[in-house]
Subunit: 329 residues, 5 copies
């Protein structure tokens, strides 16, 4: 649990107990910022009591596996954001989850899974006193902004992998594992979409509607984030559509390649068989003249052998010509 | 028929007749909770009369096979929910149906098919007097909450089966029954979707609109259920899309595998045929020298045999080299 | 033309002329119910004049081939409904058409094609005086209710045929006519959808909006019909999606089956060819020793024959072993 | 340029100059109706000035290639309609374009491409004085009505071609050009859709909203047209979906047919090879006994020949039986 | 940086510093028009200060890679447009980006990538003083108009390539690289769509809503642009759908072609094998009579040879007839 009191744009390190901190926050026009990692219900109890957090939101924050959303419970705004992280060498989109409670004088960020966003935002804001003066909304904006930037990074990484896949599919070596790679990337894109698309609607509300905890002058900043989220969503849809297309193209390529190989092999077989068929003729004719009868026509003729060999030669050449004409050779 | 009077958060066992029960419920600020299993119209008559239930809703409750819905008839709210149950070893989604009549002082739950939800909710509420104090809306919430939790369980089970299918499709053993398994799971997902997706709209109304029988303070609880239903719906859509994708990938895999096997077999055939073609040559040449003519060239030459055998050997080696060059061997 | 005056829940047989009938209907608080089958414009003229029917609606009612719809022309409501009928042995959805004019004191039902709905509704209402008292709206409801019930029947029949198709596609006998059957059923489903889906919107208006000719107390009944129509529409979409899926699965099955058969056949061929290749060796070696030269090595050796035969045997066994190692045998 | 003044339901032939004509139209409560074919900007100048036409609409009318639309510029309504024409023997949907300027006292119809609609509407209205009395809106209605009727004609023609394609695909002769025909018809359907679907929204506005130049009593007539346009749009979507389906079915049919032919051919090959393999055995055995050694076992035995021939026969029969058992013969 | 002051429809060349220019623009009822190419944040600083530009918009304008959009920040309207350019010989859609700041007295156009639109619009407007009088909105309109015209040009170019692809796919030479070409064009179409489709909504707002910086009389001009953008969007969707269709058709064509070639080759093989099988028979029979036994039946018969040869002939003819009957020859 990372917990600090901020006021006048600076971090104050004295957090003794929550109630005192809150009181001080109020007195100094500052706010309390608490970070938690996968807390248990027991760990959360103290916070829930101290900040009067809504029961249902607490449950969501502890259990995780929520959809991205923004909800208002009395004076507390509850948001769920799902940062993503692309592990390129295995082409997996790892989704983590942040649950954020936003009050007038406090912000609580609950992290599930592996994401550096809370730390990054805290560092960035502590380095920017002017921004920090805006209080909890600045924290929410920082987190959303970073998360959406990551979405755009991931779409870029996916696009690169898509390029690689295209090179493989249309490249020289029609290997056998494209379908698997395409499908698995598609599955990751599906999961990624579930993190991004439902966030657009909450961002739209932050940008356009009256969300009580967000001052009106901050809306353009959230609109900017929403715009980037929309762009990420569009890029995800495009990647998904392209993956479907490349799967079809892969199937066509494989079929064409199969066609080419089979046609070549069949053609080879035809040639070999045709040569073999030609070779059988001398065997057959010679075999007939090899029979052990007392009387074989022309057996004693002086040029018998030459005549038969010539006949064999003529038949073979004739067959060769005929096979050529049939395009079998 | 499981029927009891609840008041002050406790179960009272005295249900003599419905009218008296209702009167008592009113007097003691409690409610009557009745559970029925696939009732006939006759069995329902008494209830219909006692609680002044709407005729059309009664018909729906008796006939079942309704869409999930929420309707208001005068003072009675009528809801249809379709719990699901995943039978993993046959990969079948079993859909049951609950029809719920909600009045100020009563709740009637009609069950069709096999679901433990009514029993679970009754047990849970009887163990939670505080919750029970909220009356019929608590029962409705309990049922919806449990049903939606089951939806999420089933999506998880389907995801596991999808993982299995992926392992099969992309695994070492390209068997022949993937298409069937994929298709049948897709069919189950379709049926599952029909249970879940139409429920989102009634849940949205419970969470946002003024549904007369639901007190305003209860809306966040229904919003929570709606959120989970939305998540289930998203996961169902994702599973459906992935099943389509895996079907395509399966087709591609099968084609690639077919390609590989056919190419290997054709290549084997080509090799065997090429060897056979080489072997035919000695037969043919030897056959010619085996003909029974009186005069055969070189017949009496001392090295005739060796020369011909050498010629045969040279021809065979020449063919072998030529075939190698053609990549037939 | 089936034409009668109804009042006080009973049928009165005296229809002399339309104006008198209308006047009497008004006097006795009843209504005139006229049924027509594929009328010509001339036949319709009298009605159009007598009841002051809207010209455009008349045209639609005579020409048929309209979309399902609900329109209001002054005091007259005009509805088009498309009942369907499933001819199971040819798997064809037969669509007929009913045009309905609804006034305060009259209802005119124009039938195109083969449907028993008007007759069924008349029989049912004549047997139910209480229902008949509600006048023309009861007739409209009866027709819509019956039509939507038929939709659900047809979806059930289509589901059965889909089950049959699944059994065929995934069954033991991969025949050749699945694609045709699947496609043709898909075509019927398309046609069926065009009868059902456009009806949902008029039903929604009847259930929710102020349609002047429908009393407010009747709306729940139309909502019930709308609900069933929605269910039918969902089932149609599901059947359509499943038909697409089963077509793909069929293609995969056929490909897999083709794969299996081809692999088996190729494997057989390889075996036969390998055996033949082995058999060629003795022929070739023996052929060489069958050449008619004066001097053949070992010709006069006492065990020449046995040695060569042994060599042949050894070569054959060697080939057999080599082929086994290559998995050609 | 076909230009006339109409008043009191009759055509008056005196058009001297546009301003006079307009003045007279106003005086006599009539209107000026001008028809143009692919005018240049210069030809249009006079009209633009005389009738005070909006500059942007003029540009659209001259350049053509617009989407179907309805726009209001001050007192002038500008509509674009795209009539279609189906050239059956080449299965091509030819799309032409009509730009219509509608004022209180004038209507200008600019035609691009080949369509008889303006002429047909003029003829029909000149024969119907009562209709002509309604002025410019009657012209607009006439054109829209005719265009939409043509849409329905074309959908019917496409359906017929689709039936033909189905007969071909599922017929006895699996030829090779189905894919091309299906695809090209799909392309035409796409083009056709772009003419029809965007027209629905303007028609809805004409039927429901307050379009200033259309009197309220005329709306049902436009609603009628809109209804038919919706029907055409639905039929186009259905045809498109069916073309996709028939393409898939074609692929499945081709694959099945390929399967059948290949299996038959492979089976033939297997049979021929098996017979050849059997025939090789006597050759081999006989070859061995044909070797020229001095001492061959049983050479001098009286029944040596018969024994060997019997052995050969037994081996052949044995092979035949074995091959039958393996289902190679 | 191309920077000028315009007033009274003419270009004035004196831009000393921005503040003076702005003051003068106000005094003379003119405006400042600044063009930038891929500026750095530092280069932008001066402008940001001088014109009081919104910080978030500046960031977007510098970083580029934004979606097409239209945003209002206080007195400044910020628009992003993505012009496209089709490089036909590589079939690539090149997308550039323009960020436009629009104030009452200034317009700033930031260009990223390679597009001539800013230059074209400046030239066109400087040649049209009347248009220039409308100030910044005329610049915005000019850019949007040109961009959308380019979209239509690109759709035409894509349609031509699609025609080429169709000719290839259905042409005489079924080559192997259609899938790649189709897929890659599809990818370009996807990218193109992302430039066009999101622009429709801002154009609709310019055409219909109250966008403060656009005078009401200018809306029809933006509606015209919107109309063309809609047409471009429709053509893009159509091209995308056709590319999907042609990919499927290509697969079908390839399969059919493969079928044809394989069937032909198999048929050839069958023929060759059948002839070879016939030729084996004389070899076998003759081989038997070539065995070196002392006593061979009929060896000494005068017509033994002729009889055996005749038998061989009869067997061969018999086989030939049988093979013909089996359609193997």
């Amino acid at each position: 649990m990372d917990c600090a009191l901020y006021s006048a744009g600076r971090r104050r390190h004295r957090i003794d107990d929550l109630r005192t901190a809150l009181r001080e926050a109020e007195k100094e026009d500052g706010f309390v910022w608490i970070g938690l990692v996968e807390p248990t219900a027991d760990e959360f109890d103290l916070l829930a009591e101290g900040f009067d957090l809504p029961e249902l939101a607490i449950e969501d924050a502890i259990r995780a596996h929520q959809r991205p959303k923004l909800e208002r419970y009395g004076g507390v705004t509850f948001a769920v954001v799902k940062p993503v992280h692309y592990v390129d060498h295995v082409e997996v989109v790892e989704v983590s989850e942040l649950a954020i409670f936003l009050g007038d004088r406090f912000v609580i960020v609950v992290r599930h899974g592996d994401t550096t966003i809370p730390a990054l935002v805290r560092t960035a804001l502590e380095a920017d006193p002017e921004m920090l003066l805006h209080g909890p909304p600045a924290v929410l904006h920082g987190i959303l902004d970073k998360a959406v930037d990551q979405y755009l990074d991931v779409t870029a990484a996916i696009d690169e992998d898509l390029d690689e896949i295209e090179d493989q599919v249309f490249g020289d070596d029609p290997g056998s594992d494209h379908a698997e790679r395409i499908y698995k990337l598609k599955r990751e894109v599906q999961q990624f979409r579930r993190a991004v698309v439902p966030l657009v609607q909450p961002l739209t509300r932050l940008a356009e509607d009256e969300v009580p905890c967000i001052p009106a002058y901050a809306r353009p900043y959230f609109r900017d984030v929403q715009d980037h989220a929309l762009r990420a969503a569009e890029l995800i849809e495009a990647a998904d559509a392209l993956l479907t297309g490349v799967m079809q193209a892969d199937l066509a390529q494989v079929t064409v390649e199969q066609n080419r190989v089979t046609v070549q092999q069949n053609s080879d077989m035809r040639k070999i068989s045709a040569w073999a068929a030609i070779a059988i003729v001398p065997t057959a004719i010679a075999g007939i003249y090899g029979m052990n009868f007392d009387r074989i026509p022309f057996q004693h003729a002086p040029h018998g052998f030459s005549v038969v060999v010539t006949v064999i030669g003529v038949v073979c050449v004739g067959l060769y010509v005929a096979f050529r004409r049939n395009r079998w050779l």
